[in-house]
């Protein structure tokens, strides 16, 4: 497993997200109210809405385009909607954040 450094916890606002640009598109990295960090593709399973721009609540984000609610833990749409977005492992070492390279690379294959 290769871990790529992407920055520090304080780069992301609480209940917010930032993007990481990768050759396969954007990954959205979320920080919850209680400082857990999750990463998922920045593409809503509904119509590709940028999930990084949504409102973060609990361990979920509401898509800004049509309000689907996506679980940050599983990538699955919650409620009556159905769809799933890829999750990417994140490692937090102190303040520093790392993304799992393999997960990213496997999407290229």
């Amino acid at each position: 497993m290769t871990w790529i450094a992407i920055g520090t916890l304080s780069d992301i606002p609480r209940r917010g997200a930032r993007c990481v640009a990768t050759p396969q598109g954007k990954v959205a990295v979320f920080r919850t109210q209680d400082d857990q960090v999750y990463a998922i593709d920045d593409q809503c399973p509904h119509k590709g809405g940028p999930l990084s721009q949504g409102i973060v609540h609990g361990t979920a984000v509401t898509c800004p385009l049509h309000n689907w609610v996506i679980s940050l833990e599983t990538g699955k749409a919650l409620g009556a909607d159905e769809g799933v977005v890829r999750t990417i492992s994140v490692k937090v070492e102190g303040e520093r954040l790392f993304l799992a390279l393999e997960a990213l690379a496997s999407r290229a294959a």
């Binding site: 209940r15 990481v20 640009a21 940028p50 385009l65 009556a80 990213l104």
Partner: protein, 816 residues
């Protein structure tokens, strides 16, 4: 290779068929639908609540545009099929689109019957079938004048109740001696007539319409006995005819409707028909339950199951007029071989009648007390022998076997296969099963997962009882509509407690008011943030993470994730320097689209998020500030050229518009606020459909409010006339502040005004000088903190993180 399935008509029957088909044979067909109505599939049954104002169109949509996209279905809206070529296997629309099919489904529904009397085509004569009819009726109702509804059946009475709720003076004409005679016996018809009349609707029975007349539009209706009734609107609801003309022209067998076998197949094996246009075993239907059954059968057939067959069933009829409970089922005519059991309770307005044959129920009429409808329906369906309980049968299920049951116990006692939702054929076991298995907690969830109560809604009470039974005390249907699932409190209660308990942060609100989630959801957080911004302008720190993305980055997100930018153009006035600056920005940032908006300014669309601060910096140089085109706040103030230029202008409408916009920009409001000022009653700035509008007249300024022109169309109400520009500004500001303090989040001014009452608003703003003054002062105070241009703040570095990715990862090695 997929087969081509073409559907003519996009009503409730084929919509349901597709839902089944997508599950049973996903990917088997490429589906194309032609719909004469220019819209998606909506719940036609619920047009009556839309007419009465209890629901909006968007609440009754069954399949939104996204559904068709998601399933790869092509929907031609506003295309009427004019020819079916069975030899070539194609259909052709009135716009010339031609489409080949392997299988064709005809679902053209019904056409309303128009009685053949002179004047039946005058403007102002409508039928009641689709959304256009409802919109036309609502428009006509704005006159608050007289309407005549011809037809005292289900549709006619729902139309009459709706128009009455919209403030019209309504008369119902019915040709038979009692109302709804096809569903009710005379006794129940009489009780119904009394209830209808108590609402102020006039009813004339045995009324034989002879002519409709008027000069260029409807003015009166004449009856055979010479009676003349004045009317500006006539609604004909006298019955429907299966819409089978198209099929007939194509040589398909048609009797009353399109003749199909029990598999919904016409005499052409590749052509099916379903819905109100179809005739199966000699019967045509006009209620959704049997149509949904047809939909199920047709889907199975199309999926390859040739044994699926339609079986006739009786469907209970209910009237969807709030406050009138009636239920009718089966055959209730008198006859030699039949007995009846009747219960009357005059003081309570209750009438119940059961018609029996061979100790089995064959018909039921219930008026005033319909809770046992489901039970009687169940006994009838199962052909239960009732001789054992004959004496107490009419008292209902609660009297069977010992002590009377309360209504809750009665529902509990229903067997699992008792039908709860007649429209969708959903039984009790399915509902309780879904509640438990899927952890459903709200009525909306149950509707989404089981479809129970999702069509006409008359079983909502039963479904809620089932929810209470299954979920226990955690479900409380009688309570006010909570803000969202994070709390049991409604918006008004939350607003009151924020002030009363001096709650000044979102965590404080959630703690003190016992929020059920740790940090709320996307519904409550923006609402709470607004309430706090409004109530504590000087000491609340706006929580940007609780704002929708548009308000967080001060631009409108587009479907592809880019943004649009709309600078303020005060009162719609611009000049060469501003236009040049916009042109330069467009060139420099290669902005793909520049558009003049409906709000008298310029929209630049398709800007990359990263570019936003630089775009704003350049616009700022030219003196532009944000137009808040994204905000629940003051949007535009449209103006006309007014007395400075126009030969009819009475006052300086442009000047006043600019003055209002400069005074009020930056303020946050419960929902967006749009204003306009017109220089004379010709009203070129369209002020009479705005949240707040001004019509200048010789004697001063007529202030209007509570208009709408979006999802709903509504002309404004007049607040009052004032003499000077200063007074106009003061009144408008005070009105807006009153709305800011009382409106629920996302509630536009017209909805708030409807809730509070126009007279109350007039009283506080026009008549109560001290109230008006206090509102004005509070608005002025809050503007001190609000009038900061968000764009220049961000150009100077605020929220930098919003506009840049946190990192860029390159891993060429991994991508190999």
């Amino acid at each position: 290779m997929t087969e081509k399935l073409v559907i003519i008509g996009n009503g409730m029957a084929p919509g349901r068929m597709l839902e089944h088909l997508l599950v049973q044979a996903p990917g088997r067909y490429t589906v194309t639908i032609f719909n004469a109505e220019p819209r998606v599939n909506y719940d036609r049954i619920m047009l009556s609540p839309v007419l009465s104002g209890e629901k909006g169109y968007e609440e009754i949509i069954i399949h939104g545009d996204g559904w068709y996209i998601k399933h790869g279905i092509t929907l031609y809206k506003g295309h009427k099929i004019v020819a079916i070529d069975r030899a070539a296997k194609t259909v052709t629309s009135d716009h010339g689109v031609s489409e080949p099919y392997d299988k064709l489904v005809i679902a053209t529904g019904s056409v309303p019957f128009i009685i053949p009397v002179p004047g039946n085509n005058l403007p102002g004569v409508l039928t009641y079938r689709d959304l256009d009819d409802v919109r036309a009726m609502m428009l006509a109702a704005q006159s608050r004048s007289k309407a005549v509804v011809i037809g005292g059946g289900l549709l006619g009475l729902e139309a009459a109740a709706g128009l009455n709720a919209q403030g019209m003076d309504v008369t119902v004409l019915h040709v038979m001696p009692t109302l709804m005679e096809r569903q009710l016996d005379p006794a129940a018809g009489y009780l119904l007539q009394r209830a209808v009349e108590q609402r102020g609707i006039k009813v004339i029975t045995k009324a034989n319409t002879q002519a409709i007349s008027g000069d260029g539009k409807v003015e009166q209706v004449e009856l055979a006995d010479g009676t003349i009734i004045a009317a500006t609107l006539v609604v004909m609801a006298v019955g429907i005819r299966p819409n089978a003309a198209l099929a007939k022209e194509a040589g398909i067998a048609v009797n009353r409707g399109i003749v199909v076998d029990a598999g919904m197949r016409s005499n052409d094996p590749d052509i099916y028909a379903l819905g109100e246009c179809a005739e199966v075993n000699g019967m045509v239907y006009g209620l959704v339950a049997p149509l949904y059954e047809m939909a199920r059968v047709a889907a199975s057939q199309l999926a390859g199951n040739e044994t699926a067959a339609f079986v006739h069933m009786d469907t209970p009829t209910k009237l969807k007029v709030t406050g009138i409970d009636l239920f009718s089922l089966g055959d209730f005519a008198e006859g030699e071989d039949r007995q009846e059991i009747v219960l009357r309770d005059a003081s309570a307005g209750v009438y119940k009648r059961l018609v029996l044959r061979d100790d089995r129920i064959i018909g039921t009429v219930l008026y005033g007390e319909t809770a046992d409808g489901a039970w009687f329906n169940d006994l009838k369906k199962k052909q239960t022998d009732i001789s054992e309980m004959r004496d107490t049968l009419i008292f209902g299920q609660s009297y069977q076997g010992g002590a009377p049951l309360d209504p809750m116990a009665a529902v509990a006692a229903l067997p699992d296969d008792a039908e709860i939702c007649g429209c969708n054929g959903v039984c009790k076991g399915k509902i309780t099963g879904a509640i438990t298995a899927k952890g459903l907690t709200s009525l909306d969830d149950v509707r989404a997962h089981t479809k129970a109560s999702a069509s006409c809604g008359s079983c909502t009470g039963l479904v809620e009882k089932l929810m209470v039974l299954t979920l226990g005390d955690t479900y409380n249907p009688a309570a006010v509509q909570p803000m969202c699932s994070c709390t049991t409190l409604g918006h008004d209660e939350v607003r009151r407690l924020i002030k009363a308990k001096h709650l000044k942060t979102i965590p404080a609100v959630m703690q003190e008011l016992e929020w059920k989630t740790s940090c709320g959801c996307a519904k409550c957080r923006p609402a709470l943030n607004y309430y706090l911004v409004c109530d504590w302008p000087n000491d609340y720190a706006d929580d940007y993470q609780s704002r929708f993305i548009n308000e967080r980055v001060h631009a409108n997100i587009q479907k592809d994730g880019t943004y649009s930018v709309v600078p303020r153009m005060w009162g719609g006035v611009t000049n060469a320097a501003e236009l040049r600056a916009i042109a330069d920005v467009v060139d420099k940032f290669e902005i793909p689209m520049v558009k003049v908006t409906g709000g008298q300014r310029i929209d630049m669309l398709g800007i990359r998020k990263e570019d936003l601060p630089a775009v704003w910096a350049d616009l700022g140089q030219a003196g532009f500030v944000s137009g808040h085109a994204y905000a629940k706040g003051l949007r535009t103030v449209k103006t006309c050229v007014g007395s400075d230029w126009c030969r009819f202008g009475t006052q300086d409408s442009t000047g006043l518009g600019i003055r209002i916009e400069k005074f009020m920009w930056g303020s946050w409001t419960p929902a967006k606020v749009k204003m306009a000022v017109s220089g004379c009653p010709r009203n070129c700035a369209e002020a009479t459909c705005k949240d707040v509008g001004v019509i200048c007249v010789d004697s001063g300024y007529e202030i209007h409010f509570a208009g709408a022109a979006g999802l709903d169309i509504k002309g404004t109400e007049v607040l009052g006339l004032v003499k000077t520009e200063d007074e106009a500004l003061e009144h408008i500001v005070a009105l807006t502040q009153m709305y800011r303090e009382q409106g629920r989040y996302l509630e536009r001014i017209y909805k708030w005004a409807k809730r509070i009452g126009i007279p109350e608003i007039k009283r506080q703003i026009m008549d109560d000088q001290s109230k008006r003054g206090a509102y004005y002062e509070r608005f002025v105070f809050s503007q001190k903190f609000a009038q900061v241009d968000p764009w220049s703040e961000r150009v100077s570095g605020k929220d930098k993180h919003e506009f840049r990715p946190m990192a860029s990862v390159e891993f060429a090695q991994a991508a190999e």
